[in-house]
Subunit: 312 residues, 2 copies
């Protein structure tokens, strides 16, 4: 008996029974094959998580693995895609690690009805996983970071800073802290992404590296200045929660926290009421220029450029 | 300046300028998007390589990285696909490792005109990379391991055992050994895969875990017995090369070597002459049953089940 192939079958294939209607060849062959019908674009993203870099060593591995899949799904949310497929690479120190990671992965596949279309399990000195996710968007409607326009308003769906606050609690031994679950179980804004795409939103990304750093990606790709208004940011629900515990550091967590998996997007001003109605937060506006600015009472406030950087 | 994003741009995007005709959104956004036209299936495979597991620590990292991409392409070859896209996850200990790996990756992208459609670079205690490759096959024509038929002949395109022999040389300090380049630079049989698919071959896989172990995947998926004839195997060109150095161990290297990236396939007997003409090696035949057999002068020969297993 070959244990590797046995493990793949037992830990993954048997437990994730979904096959998408557009799949012509599912997992178990050299590749999976998909017949994408006219009218849809195929959207794909890949994301990697490494123990001690993307999660603290004492994080249960099922949680670490489910986080990685949820983070990857957030990229599909940002495109306005319907998620459909996952291809996995699980790098595990030993069989126990592999089993734990498989549990987290299987759980997310079930929650989101994802087909596990392929992947491999390999032994590695470092526990890690790479998650590739695929989904579908009606042709021509992918939301893109390069499509912000001068005079657009800047909006947010989801919350900021809570994951960073949760990680801080976990790392300072408040293992049952009130924010820990935000770090451990992020919520990809998949439904919101689809709603926004259907509303005609064209420019969107997910906030994974910190609000201002991710805003700079829109700014650069769209060649607009992104102006955030502190007074508006302070109305985000999570700001209130964070302020209660972190006082004046709350704003910093909001601006630079990272791993929020909220959607940052821009919209023409005529969509203002409609966006308020679905629970989006207005955060500022785009104007001519090429940088990210933080404003307070109409005046520019200096902030330190931050955000996670692997090779600084 | 953010070094991570700078590195991605400088090391990868700027150096791999290809964009496939079916790509609607290339790298640099949350996901890439592809408009797969009627008449084609989208085929995708993912493969992982970890330092000290998939390559010896003293392998130059550009070579380790190019091997990983070539190995992934071999899966597309086995489907009969035209390769088109790569999504990468590069896990690197430091900037120097990242730069070396990027060189190997860029080289293969150029050799095969692959679009680098997405990916990420992350710091990791262990150098590793995950390579996801995508390609296209005309609808309904993917070659699959489940499509071998009773009475099919078994064939091979490519050579066996040379990579394992090269790895042995490298690991026993024959760094310039005659087989080392087979380990360091595998050849995915992409043209052969397309040729076979056009000839109507239906059942194919790539030999990555050893001939007999991979044959067992066809046997199991197709519910046929796979009978290999020693006399035929000994006519493979690499058998002669290996025998000159390894004597009676040559057959073992051929049967169990692994990482050969040759194509193992089956065909109806009427294709015999046509397959000889393109340089394929006949290795045996399929018959009713469910196992892999090694025959010598019409008698079954016992062999030890082998092949690499990460979690034995």
């Amino acid at each position: 008996m070959n244990h590797e192939f046995d493990a793949i079958s037992r830990l993954f294939r048997q437990r994730v029974p979904f096959q998408h209607a557009f799949t012509t060849l599912g997992n178990g062959d050299d590749a999976s094959a998909h017949d994408i019908p006219e009218g849809f674009e195929f959207v794909i993203s890949t994301d990697t998580a490494v123990e001690s870099i993307h999660w603290p060593n004492d994080t249960p591995l099922d949680i670490a693995a489910s986080r990685a899949v949820l983070a990857a799904l957030s990229d599909l949310a940002a495109m306005g895609a319907e998620p459909a497929w996952v291809w996995l690479a699980v790098m595990a120190k030993d069989t126990a690690a592999l089993e734990s990671m498989s549990q987290g992965i299987v759980r997310v596949c079930h929650e989101h009805q994802l087909e596990l279309a392929g992947g491999d399990t390999v032994r590695s000195p470092t526990n890690a996983l790479n998650v590739t996710v695929g989904g579908l968007v009606p042709k021509g409607l992918t939301m893109q970071r390069s499509l912000a326009q001068n005079n657009d308003e800047i909006w947010l769906m989801g919350e900021l800073g809570l994951s960073a606050a949760g990680l801080m609690q976990w790392q300072t031994n408040h293992k049952t802290g009130c924010f820990v679950h935000h770090f451990q179980k992020p919520t990809p804004q998949l439904k919101a992404g689809i709603t926004l795409r259907k509303m005609g939103i064209q420019c969107c990304l997910d906030v994974s590296d910190g609000l201002l750093q991710d805003a700079s990606h829109i700014s650069k790709a769209s060649q607009v200045a992104m102006c955030f208004e502190t007074e508006k940011i302070q109305k985000i629900a999570s700001y209130q929660q964070l302020q209660a515990i972190h006082g004046s550091h709350a704003l910093e967590l909001i601006l630079h926290g990272g791993e929020d998996y909220a959607l940052l997007f821009t919209a023409t001003q005529d969509k203002h009421q409609q966006l308020l109605a679905i629970g989006a937060y207005p955060l500022g506006y785009c104007k001519q220029g090429h940088e990210v600015k933080l404003m307070s009472h109409g005046e520019e406030v200096k902030f330190k450029h931050q955000g996670y950087d692997h090779f600084a």
